[in-house]
Symmetry: C2
Subunit: 337 residues, 2 copies
Amino acid sequence: MEDRKQRILQAIVDDYVATATPVGSRTIARKYLPELSSATIRNEMSDLEEMGYLSQPHVSAGRVPSSKAYRLYVDMLLAKGIQQSAQEEAVKSAFQTRISHLEDVVRSAAQALAELTRYASFVLMPRQESLRIANLQLVPVSKALALLVIVTDGGIIRDTMVKVSERLDADALYAISKMLSEQFSGRTLQEVQTALRQFAGQSPGDPQVLQGIMDLSTQMDSQNAEDQLTICGTHNILGFPEYQEADKARQLLYALDDKEALLNLVRDTRGEELLVHIGPENGIEEMRSCSVAVAEYRFSRGQRGTIGLIGPTRMPYQSIFSTLRMASQVMNDILSN
Amino acid sequence: MEDRKQRILQAIVDDYVATATPVGSRTIARKYLPELSSATIRNEMSDLEEMGYLSQPHVSAGRVPSSKAYRLYVDMLLAKGIQQSAQEEAVKSAFQTRISHLEDVVRSAAQALAELTRYASFVLMPRQESLRIANLQLVPVSKALALLVIVTDGGIIRDTMVKVSERLDADALYAISKMLSEQFSGRTLQEVQTALRQFAGQSPGDPQVLQGIMDLSTQMDSQNAEDQLTICGTHNILGFPEYQEADKARQLLYALDDKEALLNLVRDTRGEELLVHIGPENGIEEMRSCSVAVAEYRFSRGQRGTIGLIGPTRMPYQSIFSTLRMASQVMNDILSN
DNA sequence: TGTTAGCACTCTCATGTGTTGAGTGCTAAC
DNA sequence: GTTAGCACTCAACACATGAGAGTGCTAACA
């Protein structure tokens, strides 16, 4: 594509991102490219429309960039490299809350992202496929109930209630815990599952406890979408001019409740540090006029998760990118403290 | 108030609840009280307006019930006793999900309520002032970190990460746990706090662990609003005709994010089984056209929490009441299984 | 041959103007 | 005390009209 067309397209995207209203040739001529006349720009715009980069809501409105245009724009941005932004401090300080569990880090990251950008944000927990058990312990709760706590080497903690035989007291439970810990420590969750299946009858502990471990490790393994994905700032959607109608906004909000779908979309970053699904690319019907920006963060021992933002296709991609990258870096730092 | 006025007022409230549009004398005459002429009803409505039960958006619109009218209506309903509703089955089955922790019960209750009623719902965790510690245990996580788990007699479980001295191994931690459990079991959280302050130097365990217990017990005690109150189904608000403008809806949604305020409103049920804050009564500016219905649920040993619904003042109070009471009963049953 | 000025044309949006209909209040009759 | 009737009010809707923004096309220009 010729350079001039590209410059005009860029101007259109910039203006549309800023104003959310269709942009006409005269606006471009005056605000962005005064060395050209509006007529020239009109001609170029006509070409760009034919090429699929622009569309007109109606014949006498200005032009609106298509997903294809955003795609080009974003690819250009990514190729150019992401600019360092002045927001760094803001991002960093937003994270400086007291945190203990991994879940809390993740949650506060999502919250900070949403507040900073005024978009909806999400954070995906690190993938846990290769988690190894470090320790497990039973904590007596009542006569026949105990809390089973599993700690993995990544420091991820999960717990569940299990029924235990009434004749087991605290010391007995501790003994069982210790034995099981020794047995399983260093093994992956999958290994534990197969090992447990083999035990079957000749179990070294309370059968109900074994069932509990089984349940919990499968649960940790194929962790449900609800736990993996945290979404924040969905209310911000109501501030977008494209979602002023409550009905439309509601549709989108309900769609975001379906974490399964979103999870499928953002789970795979295709090895990229940054990825954007623009408009219909994201494949979720209700989100066809939304873009989803996804960034990867890393976490000790090569575990990876993703963070991202959801907004209208008309997003200030440049600043979105730098914020996301910043957030990802800060998370890296905190998680590998 | 004369019986006829009351009947007319009731008809107006019913109609407005159903249609959300101002209701005129003729509608009442035809749909509700055909034995009276519209002129008669007009006269009565005029009286009712003077008495503060009705208001007119503009001179030639119908009338709209005021908060005072809803208050009267609700008080009448409550005096009459709450009707058993046919929804019982729906409510009960909605709760029949697998549950383990108290938190899960509470969360699923809120979710079920929101889905059933299509309003926004909330559940307040049981008040924990008189909680007694049943057991506490340290679970080693990494070299210098442990998870401190506190179990109370109500079966409520809380945990937090604490730093521990590096020379303590699993057995040492268990020994400390056991000692501390014996020391504190049966005591209330407040007692633990004062006891810990006395220990100061001559501690029977790792000082960092004691600090952790201290932190966690204060935290459990003056539990933050975030943890105490669960809100669900806020998206449903976008379905209310009175919140079709995205801006208005956004205001309300943000207001609901401030759990502190809502908590103050619903914490105290003034000893009533059911309580409704109608319109401005709730004291939250953004919620001046919302009603908040609150029901109490009980839980072993006299601990009490509340569940409730948030909707427009124009709510079908009758069915709201029976749903709430049902939910509260089901929660009682589950929690004292 | 690419660029530009000019012009006719289109379509939205805001504004103004009747018109309709729902609803009221008042009065007089029953 | 209740009702019928009537004049009046006001929002809502449809419709026309004009302004403004924007386009495409053509012809002139460098």
